[in-house]
Subunit: 154 residues, 2 copies
DNA sequence: GGTGAAATCTTTCCAAT
DNA sequence: ATTGGAAAGATTTCACC
């Protein structure tokens, strides 16, 4: 994972449809060498998959909310219960007053309410606190240059 | 946006490297027709871009946190200030007691602390409440079948 | 809007360094 | 690990439906 690999990841995050010739050009390598490096990044699961970024509003999922889920019991084995609710895009065990944090997208606030009802039905859940996003400033992938920014700075 | 378009989006979310022949096969269309539909989905910005999903831990960003940002003033024009912090992956204006919710990835909790310091330096910010994720159950893209699930069901 | 086929460009493989 | 080139395969266009 040198600086060339990171440059390749930046390029691919921006546009994974570009040719290996263009990719090589962008990082100062031949098409074959760029291909070989990307192949290894995939093999090592640094690149997990190539995918498309779909506009949620075009799919009728314009309402975004984060939900703090409180529980009376240990929730560490409840991953599948949350995954069974398709409107939930992320679920994390958290440190703090709540137990689980989930990210939800729905078409309407009525549907959000229905998702909260289904979360409530999960074993051990004792409460929810939903926070609705009014406007999204941005959503972007993790930067391959993370770690170059943190203090102490050079 | 009929059911074939949604099936194409599901396929592309899973693997955007597959050929139009394979894509057409999966949805019951010729390669040419699949290509034309995908071209239109891109033109209409339903597909915003083709990208790679990179493992955050491989990039040295294994610490995930959500931060509620409190403010004394209107934060509606502060998008660029949050975007200037590269460790911030999402920033949303929210309804509720806080003003802005941000998603952060860093290598260490020390670096997280440094990000909080930089958030604090943004004009109008009066406080932060960070929630660290201990374990991620899953992170997945928005389902093209969203809306097929909500009650009232058929 | 869909099909099948032709032309062009890319990916993929490999021998050499 | 990288290069250049050759073979295999994919994308893109187009005439026709």
């Amino acid at each position: 994972m040198d600086h060339i690999d990171r440059a390749l990841l930046v390029q691919l995050q921006q546009d994974a449809t570009q040719s290996y010739a263009a990719l090589g050009e962008a990082v100062g390598l031949s098409a074959g060498a760029a291909h070989e490096r990307v192949r290894k990044l995939r093999a090592r699961d640094v690149i997990r998959r190539t995918t498309v970024d779909v506009d949620p509003t075009a799919l009728g999922a314009g309402v975004l909310a984060y939900v703090m889920v409180d529980s009376a019991a240990w929730m560490g084995d409840s991953g599948a219960d949350f995954a069974a609710i398709p409107e939930i895009l992320e679920a994390h065990i958290i440190a703090g007053s709540a137990s689980v944090l989930v990210k939800v997208r729905t078409a309407t606030t009525e549907q959000l309410q229905d998702v909260l009802r289904r979360i409530y039905a999960i074993d051990g859940v004792s409460g929810t606190q939903a926070t609705v996003a009014l406007e999204t400033f941005f959503e972007r992938p993790v930067s391959p240059h993370a770690g170059d920014f943190s203090s102490p700075r050079p």
